[in-house]
Symmetry: C2
Subunit: 396 residues, 2 copies
């Protein structure tokens, strides 16, 4: 521990920032202190006695601050803060997955150049130490896939719908009231939050960075009662699954989409705001990690784990990025999907390779068939805009 | 990575040693090579072409060997090897939980004194990185309990009994044939293997070492058909659970015993040779880690993860052992238990604080009541010897 003391300049005092503050108050680690907190709105009434400011300079110019924690919503502002910290030689813990998903390559370079820690385990899966495990434990050659429920609020909504027959709108409202949902709910519901986490996870799992716009991403906001009935009839549940998998030829597929999950799968039982990740490997078969992926205290305590890791000079080593045989990203892979559509134009939109099931009534039409990820990626905006719904329907 | 190359002297070529060998052959890590293998019986026919010896000196005196991997059954011999390696300044990976459970304090001292790595993640829970997570991620102040199924073969047997109505003897035989059971099955069945792992886990989770003889340990070998029927009637299953928990007053209880687990618990669904660990904390509620805890390949690949961690100079830091407020071990804690007995003398053996349920027929008698861990610990040999069976029966 070398008698180090971290004097933190904290950016952001939302759910997670406040969670970190409370956790620290409660456990009283004498080597970690929040010295000053930079917030957007300095006039807002707050229930804690702390040194607030609305100027980043007040933190960066304070020679007593030797550590930055960034927990704000705004990805652009977060990028500026993290970059400035690294360039100033200040270690940073960040919780902003969107910012990381876009800038992680540059930031990895900066932390190496300035020889300073950048940690962000709390950014993916809240309290589950997924990143650190992928980084430290799973040998690249052995890993074949990572599949998981990475977004607590969409999973909360799906749980309420499937277990308690709640309406979509009520479930969303409840998730927001309980602090699980991001301030912009489409981030959760349309899969973007899961996508950002998947990108970060993939960097640590397979060494490869893939930009958000390359990856098919589709959420649950189009799901309707017919879809839910279909799932129930098949004794499955829709889960919003983020998925990265090594396929033949050292290639990697990635996607975020609803999947019809059967009862015998571990992620079937991941309920409410919990997250669950299944890691598969050549030799150890599957591993499952499960925990709270959202909420102020769980995420706050994950941020604290990142902070205390810095007391011990922990850094991600990005071992797998140095691999000479990095896999190649591809969308050239077929998925079996369930597709609910309204009219023939909708059906023509999806270039199925084959169709194995077709149902049609006046009010409800669907097909089950195989289609490539690339094709889905090309039409993902249309799939969101139209009155249709698509979900992976694994053959198991 | 510093261009390091590990030339391994391997002790033991049983299930795990062979698993490690095969995994390494398959993935071909050019920085890790098994240079020589020390086995007990050099005359035994083996299907691999490797440099075998039966003399430890052939390994320790080989200046080309810079790394020791110890994967033998015999705890005393393992102790000698690991100690000699550390004293020679050679990093060691060990898989021998029994040896660690007895000697971990001395070995922690030796690895510090000689400034050399001693890793043993594979020793507890095979492929699940429990130790490293407890060590690296979970802040001591936040952790409240670790509870898990740590022994694959007893769990395999329980699964076969509860799911496939297999007899105890057939299930044990099958576990041994499949390579899950230790060569001495009482280690698995009577809870000792779980106990050794629990002790190692507790060192990393709470910083405290407690000797095996201090801890109530009781297995499943006395379980009979009446007990199984009782569990089924209550819609529960017996699971052999290792349990460490912080209770009021900064005290720590530890035990290994069968527990009647209800359907809504995560460990209820841990089947076959899988292991599952539930980690509970003040702020993040619960986390669950699940994976293969036994078998040559899963454990072999876990050993490989320990080995490659050494390529990156990883060492356990034993952070929590330096805590000024180490918890104190106690057996002064009441458990609700189910106790099946034969005669009044058996009933008098257990000093119940209270009894809430009593059943008696000619062929089957049981009580449900509360008894202290300390009292159980005092009579654990008797509980094994007599025709009785006891299991925790949590009130949930």
């Amino acid at each position: 521990m070398n008698g180090k003391k971290l004097n933190i300049g904290l950016f952001g005092f939302g759910t997670v920032g406040r969670g970190l503050y409370d956790v620290l108050q409660r456990i009283g680690n004498k080597n970690v202190e929040i010295k000053r907190i930079c917030v957007r709105d300095i006039t807002k009434q707050r229930s804690v006695q702390a040194d607030f400011t609305d100027k980043a300079d007040d933190i960066f110019n304070d020679p007593g601050i030797n550590f930055i924690v960034e927990l704000i919503d705004d990805a652009d502002a977060a990028y500026t803060i993290v970059k400035r910290a690294l360039q100033s030689g200040l270690p940073v813990v960040s919780g902003n997955k969107k910012m990381l998903a876009y800038h992680i390559e540059e930031l990895i370079g900066l932390q190496a150049k300035h020889n300073v820690a950048l940690l962000y385990d709390a950014s993916a899966c809240g309290s589950i130490p997924v990143i650190r495990n992928l980084e430290e434990y799973y040998d690249n050659d052995l890993l074949t896939s990572v599949k998981g429920i990475l977004n607590g609020s969409s999973n909360f909504i799906l749980s309420k719908i499937f277990n308690e027959k709640m309406s979509y709108a009520d479930a969303l409202k409840l998730a927001q009231d309980l602090g699980f949902a991001e301030s912009n709910p489409t981030l959760d519901i349309d899969g973007w939050d899961s996508l950002f986490k998947l990108i970060i996870i993939t960097v640590h799992a397979f060494g490869l960075y893939v930009a958000p716009e390359e990856i098919f991403t589709y959420g649950i906001s189009n799901m309707n009662d017919d879809d839910i009935r279909f799932a129930n009839e098949k004794e499955r549940r829709f889960k919003l699954v983020a998925h990265v998998e090594k396929i033949a030829g050292n290639r990697l597929i990635m996607c975020v989409m609803p999947q019809l999950i059967s009862r015998n799968k571990y992620i079937y039982s991941v309920e409410d705001e919990f997250n669950g990740v299944v890691i598969k490997g050549l030799f150890y078969d599957k591993q499952f990690m499960f925990g709270r992926g959202a909420g102020g205290y769980p995420t706050g305590s994950a941020v604290l784990s990142d902070i205390t890791a810095c007391l011990y000079d922990y850094r991600y080593e990005y071992k797998k990025r140095n691999d000479s045989q990095l896999p190649e990203f591809t969308n050239d892979h077929l998925f079996r999907v369930y597709y609910r559509y309204t009219d023939n134009e909708d059906l023509a939109l999806v270039p199925f390779e084959s169709i194995s099931e077709k149902y049609s009534s006046e009010s409800y039409k669907y097909v089950v068939g195989r289609v490539s990820l690339g094709a889905l990626h090309n039409i993902q905006e249309e799939l969101r805009r139209r009155n249709v719904f698509i979900a992976a329907y694994p053959n198991d």
